[in-house]
Symmetry: D3
Subunit: 238 residues, 6 copies
Amino acid sequence: MSRIDGRAGDQLRPIGIIPGINKFAEGSCLIRCGNTHVLCCASVEDRTPPHVPEGEGWVTAEYSMLPRANRERSKRDIAKLKLSPRSAEIQRLVGRSLRACVDMKKLGERSITVDCDVLQGDGGTRTASVTGGFVALSLALYKLVQDGTIPEMPLIDCVSAVSAGIVNDQLLLDLCYEEDSAAQVDLNCVMTGSGKLVELQGTGEGRAFTIEEQRALVDLCAKGIREIQAIQKAALGG
Amino acid sequence: MSRIDGRAGDQLRPIGIIPGINKFAEGSCLIRCGNTHVLCCASVEDRTPPHVPEGEGWVTAEYSMLPRANRERSKRDIAKLKLSPRSAEIQRLVGRSLRACVDMKKLGERSITVDCDVLQGDGGTRTASVTGGFVALSLALYKLVQDGTIPEMPLIDCVSAVSAGIVNDQLLLDLCYEEDSAAQVDLNCVMTGSGKLVELQGTGEGRAFTIEEQRALVDLCAKGIREIQAIQKAALGG
Amino acid sequence: MSRIDGRAGDQLRPIGIIPGINKFAEGSCLIRCGNTHVLCCASVEDRTPPHVPEGEGWVTAEYSMLPRANRERSKRDIAKLKLSPRSAEIQRLVGRSLRACVDMKKLGERSITVDCDVLQGDGGTRTASVTGGFVALSLALYKLVQDGTIPEMPLIDCVSAVSAGIVNDQLLLDLCYEEDSAAQVDLNCVMTGSGKLVELQGTGEGRAFTIEEQRALVDLCAKGIREIQAIQKAALGG
Amino acid sequence: MSRIDGRAGDQLRPIGIIPGINKFAEGSCLIRCGNTHVLCCASVEDRTPPHVPEGEGWVTAEYSMLPRANRERSKRDIAKLKLSPRSAEIQRLVGRSLRACVDMKKLGERSITVDCDVLQGDGGTRTASVTGGFVALSLALYKLVQDGTIPEMPLIDCVSAVSAGIVNDQLLLDLCYEEDSAAQVDLNCVMTGSGKLVELQGTGEGRAFTIEEQRALVDLCAKGIREIQAIQKAALGG
Amino acid sequence: MSRIDGRAGDQLRPIGIIPGINKFAEGSCLIRCGNTHVLCCASVEDRTPPHVPEGEGWVTAEYSMLPRANRERSKRDIAKLKLSPRSAEIQRLVGRSLRACVDMKKLGERSITVDCDVLQGDGGTRTASVTGGFVALSLALYKLVQDGTIPEMPLIDCVSAVSAGIVNDQLLLDLCYEEDSAAQVDLNCVMTGSGKLVELQGTGEGRAFTIEEQRALVDLCAKGIREIQAIQKAALGG
Amino acid sequence: MSRIDGRAGDQLRPIGIIPGINKFAEGSCLIRCGNTHVLCCASVEDRTPPHVPEGEGWVTAEYSMLPRANRERSKRDIAKLKLSPRSAEIQRLVGRSLRACVDMKKLGERSITVDCDVLQGDGGTRTASVTGGFVALSLALYKLVQDGTIPEMPLIDCVSAVSAGIVNDQLLLDLCYEEDSAAQVDLNCVMTGSGKLVELQGTGEGRAFTIEEQRALVDLCAKGIREIQAIQKAALGG
């Protein structure tokens, strides 16, 4: 049975990454996964939050959707005077994922904030934010090395993310909005270049799922992650 | 190698559940998992939020830690004028988990809010909230049936939750605070009575983890969940 | 005419105080006055707010009700983005009452926050907070002396609190919720061990009251305070 | 021993009330008690809050200090994003005091908000707010009667307020700022025209006080209240 | 055609300025332009915001309307938890206008906040705030010079403000509320003593306006400004 | 003397408008004026705010800068819990400008929100928001007509905006960031297709300016506006 957009079950949506899209940010990209478009900007500041040990750096992320990123306009957070709980959850995930690939001692006493602003959302915004956020972060780190601010690249590994899910009892890779809305199970993986897991979040929204289904979904994600890594690498100049 | 509190690697902390602890709530319990104590109160209201289809019910959760639930006092959310992002993330998890076991049509046009307030936290507060929250919710649903408000129990299944993690490269079930602080990998499972997954969240805080490690952690959780289900059942009167 | 719960007009509800209920707080207790249950935790911090003179300490209180402490669930402060004005008023009263019994120079440059969280409320939560808050505060101060942090106990006096009111033109001690709801006049006293007043708040909610009635209500409170002091003393180990 | 401003111990500060100071409010006055100046405006609206029984009215108060009402400028509430807890406490007191003199059934389904804005504060702002608020409220009620909106005056009684305190162990009426800052005991009374109590708030800020001292302070307030009532009456046209 | 209050088209409303109205502020006045009454208080503090260069001072303004300054009562900002966008816009205008007349190096490292609180509003509150704010600011600066805190007056120039508008296709100076509500075009000018522009804001609320109309409105304002300057000068003692 | 980017004094920066950039919004465009990039999305909703007369429509605007739109990262509004006062001021200007060109009766009982989100800011973001906002609004209105929702285009006129300023005593059109930072005078014009003014805002940030200078700046803007109108027209398909 073919998918709404004609893809095979284990096929990613077309991904495009435009590096350096923002003139001011130390690192930036616009990532497009199908109709999901996220602007990722990495900003370097010469101080760290209080909880960070002396001599070490910090990486954090912020995530937000523009009001008309969705099918219906949603109010801005500031109009409701609270950060959307969904955004809070996602930016914590993106932050943890990005920190997993940085050696904080090599980064030194500075912090990098990666802003992920969804210009248009069609499913998979959190995984696109991790994937694009890694590109923006890498570019900012390159710049710090090229400037001579830090002696060597503090990247330990690369990270990428993708979702898989169960829709009509079929396992599908990289759900678009319509699939996501109808999904019985939705699972997101963040993985390193060597295929290890950094983050794993699975939810049975329509029904519970067996341990075997869970394993198959992770395997499907692992397949997608390998393809995404090649695209990230190309965007970073190989 | 034995654990800080002398447990075997696959051993739960002692769990106690006192049902009906609150005189006013339609359902309530105090759950104690080792030194983690969570007060769970289920409140029934005769209206539903706007997004709920007509004729159906809704179940949601709120989670909060008292200021001195921890080793150090933390400020109240209201003093910072924002819901802690960690609390936001946890209460979304608890809410999804509890909704997974309720037939919303049988519940009818009413909503149940399950408040999970951590009186003392020593690791595993989110999983204790799911486990205790299910007991409070069940008691509130029993009451609705006994009152004649609804004709039959709207419970589809039971849910329970537990964590497992990797500490010093050892797989351990049900991490206490010291273990959690030192964990390389932390994974939480919410499962049904028949051993299916409802929620799965794994994080490599210290290092990435292999797919094999992930599988072993889920298996470890499944073992713990079976024991927790027996304790929930007993608290609900068998 | 007997009261709703069978007490005599000048009789307190049964009071129980469990000291040391919280594993982490420097001082804590659970106080139960009839069906009113308040968790009191005293937390010591090694700094003082800006307005405190150098070399002196500070004692403050925070008060909050859990959402289902009442007959009906109430929204959390954070959901409304404002501290309940009633809570603001009560925590100011509790803070002033507790400061009245501490020698701030002997306490030295540290502050103690006494959190009073109402787990279940059935009338008299503010007076229970003062009475239980004093026990938690005393335990924290004992600990500072035992640790050798401060050379001698900074307690000047003890404080306790109770309410009295006029219901159906009868003077009653220690109003429970039903009595409080029907009260024409409600008066709260905070008193020291030697029977002096620290705080006095009287309100004619249903009708104004004469100066003679006011005097009789204070006398009734003084009687109750003497009994409460014996219970506090016992909880503190005599 | 004479007072800082030369008054006798039981002497009020000069009080002036300018009725009708605001062109738009249904009732208004500027009250000056020494150097304490409060603008009181009563606004009528044709709806009541949800908790008010059908067919009845409601009276409430809001209290605020302008930023430079004090010796030092203080930040506006909105800059701190929270209502000052002291203002919250005071406006609850003013609201209860004013409600005590209105027959809500005669008022009918409308609400009156009495805004008390302190233009300059030199001690006794809460009691000036009650005294001036009563004048503004009365004028608004007269207007409703004159307009034919309500058939008869819904005033049950009048209310006035004043403070007394113990400074250097002397009992003084109507404390000004310097006296208030040095007071060992501070007590506020709200009383009706017939000398009954509506509200009573006493605080031992510097030391506890005996029951005899408390009684003497209330007697002192009662003396002041009688004089204030004459001034209110004159402002209302006798 | 005569105006609602009988004025000629190019005639100001009567203006009164009472300097020194507030006992505590370093400079203050009450300005009345017809029925628009604004209390302006200038407060000096011995520190500057972070963005101010070392050795220089800062001048800022805050603007707010009391709840019953208008024909209908409006909620306080704090009740809505946000500064009114209109107030935000106005206080930025007043701040810029006042800064335009101060030599920040002569002022030295201190800041002056000019609070403009509208007690009664009948059109033209923003221009009255600039005009009155200048008087309050000048008085505070005189005081600093007289105290010997600063060696010479840091005033570069004076500033005054007034509105003009098009109502029923007639050009009118200094619109009152009824005229403002019916205006097709509304234009505000802030000018110096030598007739130069500091701020200019024109809005076509009912229709667009030609460049010629715009020029005529500025000329009309210039005429009014000259008269206002004489009144400011008199209030400042000539 | 040539400008920093080589332009003549009366030359606009290159302007590009991509219509229909957002898949979901009823009307949208990305406008680029030099390095200033603003995403404008118009969203239609089938209800109006309470203040709108029955049978009429409403148009409003929201404006925000992404955190890294600037040379330095700025905090999000939600992190500071308040809408930036500058954004509040700008979105009021954009809203008024767009309303000036719509016949609200022809629009009917619906409202259109135009979100202007600055992706990159290099001076002139408010004028780009008006110019781009008009394109997004027009596209949304076309869609309503094409859908048959409304019978005829409710556009009365077109609106465009541009800035001019005085830098080093030279009059320049369309200031970029560096020019804006150094400007002595900054003036923004919003004009209709027939060259009439809708909004005019001029500020002497570095010095006051003469009436003659003001007139010359408006003339300069009028010249720029004519060129911008041609670009808007082309983006809307001629």
